[in-house]
């Protein structure tokens, strides 16, 4: 039967397509159902195009300071439209790359919207596809507005990242609601392109999930660049006009009005669980609205698995991809290495970058752990001085007794690349000693990682 497979994956994002590849590698006949472009939000309107735009922003900022480096670039002009088109090409390349991977692995791609049916079936239009072994739900998430206070996404004055990524012309002023990774990255991008940006965060500090010191460092860096950062702020009312939005904001007991040409909603995401037949298949949800899964990522209905954003936080592409691999191996009857959810790195790609893994210092305190914080600033790092990227630090939280790396936090250029040394260390249970014992090349920014490990043992060398 042509419509019969071993595994059907609903959703071709980073969780779904990786799961499909692993299934195919394990000899399972696999189909992926995707209603839009392969690669999902990540590849098309998320991770990948924003990284392209952030690099444009980086170049703009670099050129503004290049005179100090003996390079005069003259009048630096920016054009968001050009940067946006380049980011689209990058996104398209990646999406085509995923298409190629599907062909290479002989995975059937079904274009359309899939609806789950009982008996491991998925209906796409009038066609019904049947999975002999399992159906994997990887439908992902989407941006959401806050209609309760009048901030419903209208795609002109109240926009989401979806619109921001496709704009030709940028507004003169922009208010960003939400200072998580998305909000902070767009603030960085638009500020570099000359937009007057105000970031509003409801929680007491920006990047609320990161270490407090990371939030502080970033706040200072943003303010220095003229980005207004208001944390602990509640938007009480929004008045949306044709060409501007007025936000009534309460922060620290004070009330103020922020007027901007547009508002970018970056306060959370909604999972795509509607109209995909969950109820019909008896698949239950958690209290927070994610699909309920057991430790093997199987839903409340046998034969149906859920991975990626729909299966619960952290809503990160790399977490979804790993879940895809694990589920594929489980379906194939293997015993995969279990996922350590406390060892998923988290990265914000603004400038300076923020990357972290494990516990924050506040969490260590809350858990009453006996820890020591080791810290090394990039201002004391030779390579960072050379490139003029001395903002930020490496901070390692070490268990006092055994030297276990409880958490690590990096703020600085290339933090996103440096965090993996600590991810490997934690995954393999290396302690701060092993991190330092591995010889770090000189001069590199990664030396700061080794120095922070040393500092946590009270024997930092270069400060």
């Amino acid at each position: 039967m042509a419509n019969s497979f071993d595994v059907i994956v609903l959703g071709g994002g980073p969780a779904g397509y990786v799961c499909a590849i692993r299934c195919a590698q394990l000899g399972l006949a696999t189909a992926v159902i995707e209603q839009e472009k392969l690669g999902g939000v990540c590849v098309n309107i998320g991770c990948i195009p924003t990284k392209a735009l952030l690099h444009s922003a980086y170049i703009a900022n670099l050129l503004k300071e290049s005179k100090d480096f003996g390079v005069e670039a003259g009048d630096v002009k920016t054009d968001y439209g050009v940067a946006m088109k380049r980011s689209r090409r990058v996104a398209d390349q990646n999406s085509k790359g995923v298409e190629f991977l599907m062909k290479k692995n002989k995975i059937t791609v079904v274009k359309g919207t899939g609806v789950l049916q009982p008996g491991r079936k998925v209906k796409v239009g009038s066609d019904v596809y049947e999975a002999k072994k399992a159906v994997v739900i990887a439908t992902g998430s989407r941006v959401k507005g806050i209609p309760q206070i009048g901030l419903e996404i209208n795609k002109t004055t109240v926009i989401s990242s979806d619109e921001a990524l496709l704009m030709e012309k940028i507004p003169a002023t922009l208010a960003i609601v939400g200072a998580g990774a998305v909000g902070m990255e767009f603030a960085d991008i638009f500020s570099a392109f000359g937009v007057k940006v105000t970031v509003i965060e409801a929680l007491p500090r920006i990047l609320p999930l990161e270490d407090a010191e990371a939030s502080d460092t970033l706040s200072k860096s943003y303010r220095k660049r003229g980005i207004e950062v208001i944390a602990g702020a509640k938007v009480t009312k929004a008045t949306v006009a044709k060409d501007k939005v007025t936000l009534d904001v309460e922060a620290g007991g004070e009330k103020k009005q922020i007027v901007a040409a547009a508002v970018l909603m970056a306060a959370g995401r909604a999972v795509n669980i509607e109209n995909i037949g969950l109820k019909e298949c008896g698949i239950q949800l958690t209290e927070r609205g994610f699909i309920k899964v057991d430790k093997n990522l199987q839903t409340s209905t046998a034969g149906y698995y859920a991975i990626g954003d729909v299966a619960g936080p952290p809503m990160l592409a790399h977490k979804g991809s790993r879940e895809g691999v694990v589920v594929a191996e489980l379906i194939a009857g293997q015993k995969p290495h279990p996922i350590k959810y406390d060892n998923v790195p988290s990265v914000t790609y603004c400038h300076p970058e923020v990357a972290s893994i494990g516990l924050t210092e506040d969490q260590c305190k809350e858990k009453k752990l006996d820890y020591v914080a080791g810290k090394f600033p990039f201002s004391a790092n030779g390579r960072a001085r050379g490139t003029g990227e001395t903002e930020g630090f490496v901070k390692i939280l070490r268990d006092k007794k055994y030297g276990e790396i409880l958490g690590a936090h990096i703020v600085g250029a290339h933090a996103s690349e440096m965090i993996h040394e600590l991810a490997v260390a934690r995954e393999n249970e290396y302690t701060v000693e092993e991190v330092d014992l591995a010889i770090h090349a000189h001069p590199t920014m990664s030396e700061a990682v080794a120095e922070a490990a040393l500092d946590s043992q009270g024997r930092v060398l270069n400060i």
Binding site: H337, K401, Y402, G403, E404, N428, E429, Y430, T431, E433, E434
Partner: protein, 411 residues
């Protein structure tokens, strides 16, 4: 009908016995339970008793003859009854040999099958963090089943099972005096790695892979304590010897290191909750190790009295089997022979023995001056199938601490 008198197995390990002396002679009336003869076993001189009533009709084995267990040595029956005169041997056993003979060679064990996996059995796959936690908790990683990739021991394995594993390995605290169950011992099945280690190390050097650890102990305070105690005892009781102090310390240190108080039992290791110290005693033509039971719970005076009494009977070969079997660990003391240091051979199935040398006055540095101190060199022999280097070293460290600070024994 006349009944046969066999050479009986008078000790658990006896394979043959030398007929030392006939207490009854041909023609003597005998009753069941009478001592017919004295037989020297591999361990002691034992009594061979009559199992039936009648007359000792015929003695088949002259005094001084060694015969295998099971052979007929005499006949008991009604007076005048005819019996088989020849010293017939049942089960086709070898004819009696005259005079003392070396122990019959044990049947050769079949050559060990080549091991399938030439993996380095002594290497334990464990994360650095797990190693640190294990070291701190005194957990032997080789006893831990790893749950990480490829059986790697990770934090979870030493944390989760730590309580369990800790009990198996060396208890970190001396408060773990006795198993709460009250059982005398606990049998722990050999883990695969432990089996491999056992096979490989045994194949490398003899049936028991020994290794030796030596430490030098300052006996100044033990000597002072001994003098004070003996002064206290005065003329009333026996004196406390260094040997008594050593036995007590060895026993108390074992309480803290159950990993060393164990028997290797081929497919499992028996970790003893009780401490029975075998005390090697030199006898005329060999040695025997009478056992001081529950030595950890006895006072120095009790140990002193018991060891002297046992040693005395050992020398006259009057020990009962139960008095020289069942030790969980042994001590061999050649201090009185002016031996500074030596290595003792393990008494299987025990996993360790400590060899005690002479207490010698030595010049030792004390800060920036040199002082004369009484020093003792102690060497521990360990069965590597049970005890690892660090485990043995940890035990020896505790022993050293106890002897250097004898008051600690009162804790």
């Amino acid at each position: 009908m006349a009944t046969k008198v066999h050479m009986e197995a008078l000790s658990p390990t006896m394979e043959e016995g030398r007929l030392v002396k006939w207490n009854k002679h041909e023609g003597d009336p005998v009753k069941s339970g009478d001592t017919l003869a004295e037989v020297e076993t591999d361990k002691a001189v034992m009594e061979l008793v009559a199992r039936s009533d009648g007359q000792l009709l015929k003695v088949l084995v002259p005094e001084g003859t060694t015969v295998p267990v099971g052979n007929i040595v005499a006949w008991i029956g009604k007076p005048g009854e005819k019996v088989d005169g020849a010293g017939s041997t049942e089960q086709g056993a070898a004819a009696p040999k005259a005079g003392p003979s070396p122990a019959a060679p044990a049947p050769k064990a079949p050559a060990p099958a080549p091991l399938a996996a030439p993996a380095d059995a002594t290497r334990v796959k464990a994360s650095p963090l797990a190693k640190r936690i294990a070291k701190d908790a005194g957990v032997d990683l080789k006893l831990v089943q790893g749950s990480g990739p490829g059986g790697r021991v990770i934090k979870r394995d030493v944390e989760g099972g730590a309580a369990q594993v800790r009990a198996v390995a060396a208890p970190a605290q001396s408060s773990v005096l006795r198993a709460p169950s009250g059982a005398a011992y606990e049998d722990i099945a050999l883990t695969q790695i432990r089996k491999t280690i056992a096979k490989r190390l045994a194949a490398s050097i003899g049936p028991i892979p020994h290794f030796f650890l030596t430490t030098e102990i300052d006996m100044e305070r033990a000597a002072e304590a001994r003098e004070a105690l003996n002064k206290q005892l005065g003329e009333t009781g026996g004196k406390i010897s260094f040997n008594d102090i050593v036995i007590k310390a060895v026993a108390l240190a074992l309480v803290q290191h159950r990993a060393c108080n164990a028997w290797f039992q081929e497919d499992h290791i028996r970790y003893w909750n009780e401490v029975h110290i075998g005390m090697a005693v030199a006898i005329e033509d060999g040695l025997i190790t009478p056992v001081i039971r529950n030595a950890d719970m006895k006072s120095l005076r009790q140990i002193g009295e018991e060891s002297r009494e046992l040693a005395g009977r050992a020398r006259t070969r009057r020990l009962k089997p139960e008095e020289y079997t069942g030790a969980t660990f042994s001590v061999s003391n050649l201090g009185m022979f002016d031996i500074d240091q030596f290595t003792a051979v393990i008494n299987p199935p025990e996993a360790g023995i400590v060899a005690i040398g002479s207490i010698v006055a030595k010049a030792v540095p004390d800060g920036d001056r040199v002082v004369v101190r009484r020093r003792l060199r102690v060497t521990m022999s360990c069965d590597h199938r049970v005890i690892d280097g660090a485990t043995g070293a940890a035990y020896l460290k505790t022993l050293k601490q106890m002897l250097e600070n004898p008051l600690a024994m009162l804790l």
